[in-house]
Amino acid sequence: MKTPWYEKTAKEIRDAVHQGEASALDIVNSFIEHADAVDGTVGAYTQRWSETARTAAQRIDEKIRKGLPAGALAGVPVALKESICTSEGKTTGASKMLADYRSPFDATAVTRLQQADAVFLGKVNMDELGLGSSTETSALQRTTNPWAPDRVPGGSSGGSAAAVASGTCALALGTDTGSSIRQPASFCGCIGFKPTYGRISRLGIIGIASSLDHVGPLARTVEDTALALNVLCGEDKGDPTSSDRPVPDFTRSLGRDIRGLRIGVPKEYLASDLDAEVRQYVEKALDQFRNAGAEIVSISLPCTGYDAAAYTVISTAEMSAGLARLDGVRYGARHPEAKSVPDVYVMSKSAGLGTEVQRRIILGTYFLSGKNRQDYFVKAQQVRTVVKKDFQNAFEQCDIIAGATTATAAFPFGSKSDNPLEMYACDQFTVAANLASHPALSIPCGKTAAGLPIGLHLQARSYDEETLLGAAFYYEQHRGFEMGFPSIL
């Protein structure tokens, strides 16, 4: 039997559409039917836009028929995280507060994908407003890990990772403030890429913490990741923190020779409480790099441990302001019994925002109040500077920093819900890249005996996505296994 379209890569789909070998409509239908079959089990999609997706596919086919140029992602089915603003459908952030919210505009990332002729199949689940590491805090629904129905998909972009892994989209868009693209990618066995801060516009992202928020793609191959980055990256006048650096063709960095590439392994990462299987597969990956001629360098990141603390302070402080607008005054769920202005705030927020969101808003407010501002917030900013410096020093000794994306594979539902600190620890290897702004990705490097994916975390210098993609591509081609699709589907 012929491989169904939903198992093909974005690159294969795009090429087939460009060359007129397949119609975008057939491709999109293949994904829609597959999602009909499996997403009831996975629960990635919160909104299915099948009809508009078919219409969009027909428009692309029409273009091809007329011989007009089609975009770089022509006919590629994409899923969007619930926190990414779209004029189509709702933009809920998986929060009760925004359960009926419709955005008047499209995020820049969405516009760029649309201009590249990608087709949106709908929106996918996430932790409420991006606060969580398991997608369990979503007010909408439960999303399961496609590899193990009793396990979480990770978060906050859990829906994005689960959809990519289960083949219900070829690419997904996620956001990453501390780990939210890379950790679910690691749990679900796909690639999650957080580019350098400023590479992809944040305009139209329901932000958590503006100085840490990143938009990025989740995909099944490194090449698809590069294709998506080509479309997504670039300056946006609507986001003054976006970078005006020229954007290279990222696909050209694939196939680079990695001989002589220096891969740094922080001793602090290996000394931590890594799960034995995770450690085994990460070390195996390092061996593969070494065998291919890369140089494995032992390095030190003394900031390890402090980075997570600084992250908690800065991210919650920024989000305490960033989420303040969700008050039910201009939009959102205003409590029907609120009689006074303070009522509108207190009652609407109490009813509309979940426990984790409230916890972090209170935490952030505390870190900024009175003397605490100096003791926590200002101190955390200083630590952030130290983290940047640590990485600068480290990147003088190596070109890539490697380690595990997470200390363990996907955990069972409910196992960390009552212990926020344990949940926050899911970010321990990933937050530094958000604090220091450099690019990082997670790529599958094996499966546990129980069949759960394990992620290899690679980081590179700011704006050096090419080295990162080159190394990941080499590894993907030589790692000696295919990730494939979960058998439960």
């Binding site: 990414i84 603003c85 933009t91 952030g93 925004l98 919210y101 955005s103 008047p104 505009f105 995020a107 944040r202 305009l203 139209g204 992202i205 329901i206 932000g207 913490a209 503006s210 100085s211 006048k237 609507g238 986001d239 003054p240 923190t241 402080a317 920024e318 305490s320 302001a321 303040a324 607008r325 969700l326 008050d327 005054v329 201009r330 939009y331 202005v341 509108v344 705030y345 407010t365 900024l368 109040s369 009175g370 501002r373 917030f377």
Partner: protein, 476 residues
């Protein structure tokens, strides 16, 4: 005990940047409610602020005009509080790194020069406008004002009287209007002044407890409110009481200040750097560019008017009070008019017409060029001053050119000596008695004949020519 007032002013000025400070919405004043809004100034999820560079330009210009230091590197901050008129529930403002700081302004208080130090001038955004007069007792919020560009200008507590406060506000407004950065309209809210007022025994070094008086609709109201508040505080202290730190409003009808709310001892705004806007780096070249484009300021211009045009101090002061008036004046002169005559006609005749119709000089129906043309008609003897005043009234009404009015209404002077001779001979013939008396030495009767000629020519006889011919005819 003798007390003195210690006053500091906080002025919020809406800087006209054509669009809002963090989005591209227009900033017109009287648009329909919520018609000038976008996701940005409504605080919608996902919207990001983009700093309007014009606002930075204009704020730097104000800073330079106020002799301020300009920060070479600064940033915006988030000021957090909850209120329905605040779209994001934080205001983007500047906390401890204002764009402009440590300046001063010299103001004239009844002929005495007073220097008032400027603590800082910082960039921020305006809030929306709440309105509690909706049907059914509901409140409405108009977000047209949300995100307008505000510059908050704060003085040191250098002001010692209501009169000085008035002089400060007047000079500040004059400067802002010269810079053309704001229309400074207090009624429309584009300039809002708050006074921090305390009193202390004369000679004391400490500061008394202050009250903040806000929501006054005019400069003179501010002066009265300060006068009242200073007296009130002195009375409180004299009767053994204590001044309470609070915000007080001005009740213009009763002429008193009224307690509005007790000020919490310390505001908890949880300021932190605005992560959505990169740091603002102002280099020397940027400042120099703005400095080069600064207009001539009132004091310098006044002095130049005296020396260059030979005007009196008073005239120079009146003509330079507003930039529009001074520009108008110089346009008349550069169109060829005599500087002194131009000053007179502008300050007296045109100003009277403007005052009657409550028009500002910038809205004058008579242009500087046509006023210069009118003065040229007098100069060349086509009309006399009396007729010219009538012509100006007509110009003001219809906007027509003076020459055209003179021609159409036949107002030109009779300078034809033959025609005048005939008229004059006829008058002498008709008044044989008066002519005889004049010739017999009653010289006063000469004026009688001038009057008769003017009557006959309906005032259009060229006065010089009339005199000449009359004397010749009577003396012959």
């Amino acid at each position: 005990m003798q007390y003195e007032a210690v006053i500091g002013m906080e002025v919020h000025v809406e800087i006209n940047c054509h669009s809002k400070v963090f989005c591209s919405c227009p900033s017109a004043f009287d648009a329909a409610p919520n018609s000038q809004v976008c996701p940005g100034c409504l605080g919608m999820p996902g919207a990001l602020p983009v700093l309007n560079r014009k606002m930075v330009d204009k704020s730097i210009a104000v800073g330079l005009a106020l002799n301020c230091q300009i920060a070479r590197s600064t940033r915006m901050d988030r000021k957090n509080y909850f209120y329905p008129d605040l779209a994001r529930n934080y205001q983007i403002s500047q906390d401890d790194q204002p764009l402009c700081y440590a300046g001063y302004i010299d103001v004239d208080v009844e002929g005495r020069k007073k220097r008032i130090r400027i603590t800082r001038a910082h960039v921020e955004e305006d809030t929306a406008r709440n309105s509690h007069t909706q049907a059914g007792g509901q409140s409405g919020i108009d977000f047209n004002r949300s995100g307008l560009s505000l510059l908050e200008i704060v003085t040191e507590p250098d002001i010692r009287s209501a009169q000085e406060a008035f002089a400060y506000l007047t000079s500040l407004k004059q400067l802002l209007q010269y810079l053309d950065v704001s229309d400074c309209n207090m009624e429309e809210g584009s300039l809002r002044a708050e006074a921090n007022i305390s009193v202390r025994p004369v000679g004391a070094e400490y500061y008394g407890t202050k009250t903040e008086v806000k929501n006054v609709a005019s400069f003179s109201g501010t002066q009265k409110a300060i006068e009242y508040e200073v007296e009130r505080q002195i009375e409180v202290l004299n009767s053994g009481g204590k001044v309470v730190q609070e915000t007080r409003g001005w009740d213009a009808d009763k002429g008193i200040t009224v307690s509005q709310r007790l000020k919490e001892s310390a505001h908890e705004y949880r300021y932190f750097p605005e992560p959505d806007i990169p740091p603002i780096v102002v280099d020397e070249a940027w400042i120099e560019q703005i400095r080069k484009e600064l207009p001539e300021f009132p004091i310098a211009r006044k002095e130049r008017f005296q020396s260059q045009y030979g005007l009196s101090l008073y005239d120079a002061q009146v003509l330079t009070f507003s930039r529009a008036m001074a520009d108008f004046y110089e346009a008349i002169v550069s169109a060829g008019a005599d500087p002194k005559k131009a000053a007179n006609w502008l300050m007296v005749e045109l100003q009277a017409l403007l005052s009657d119709t409550k028009l500002d000089i910038s809205a004058s129906p008579v242009s500087p060029a046509s006023l210069a043309e009118l003065l040229a008609l007098i100069e060349t003897g086509i009309i006399n001053g009396k007729i010219a005043k009538e012509v100006l009234v007509e110009m003001f009404k219809s906007g027509a050119a003076p020459k055209k009015i003179v021609e159409e209404k036949g107002l030109g002077q009779i300078s034809d000596s033959k025609a005048l001779e005939e008229t004059i001979r006829a008058i002498i013939e008709a008044n044989p008695g008066q002519a005889a008396d004049y010739r017999a030495g009653k010289e006063k009767l000469f004026d009688y004949f001038v009057g008769q000629v003017m009557k006959a020519t309906r005032g259009k006889g060229n006065p010089q020519l009339v005199n000449e011919i009359l004397r010749r005819e009577l003396d012959s």
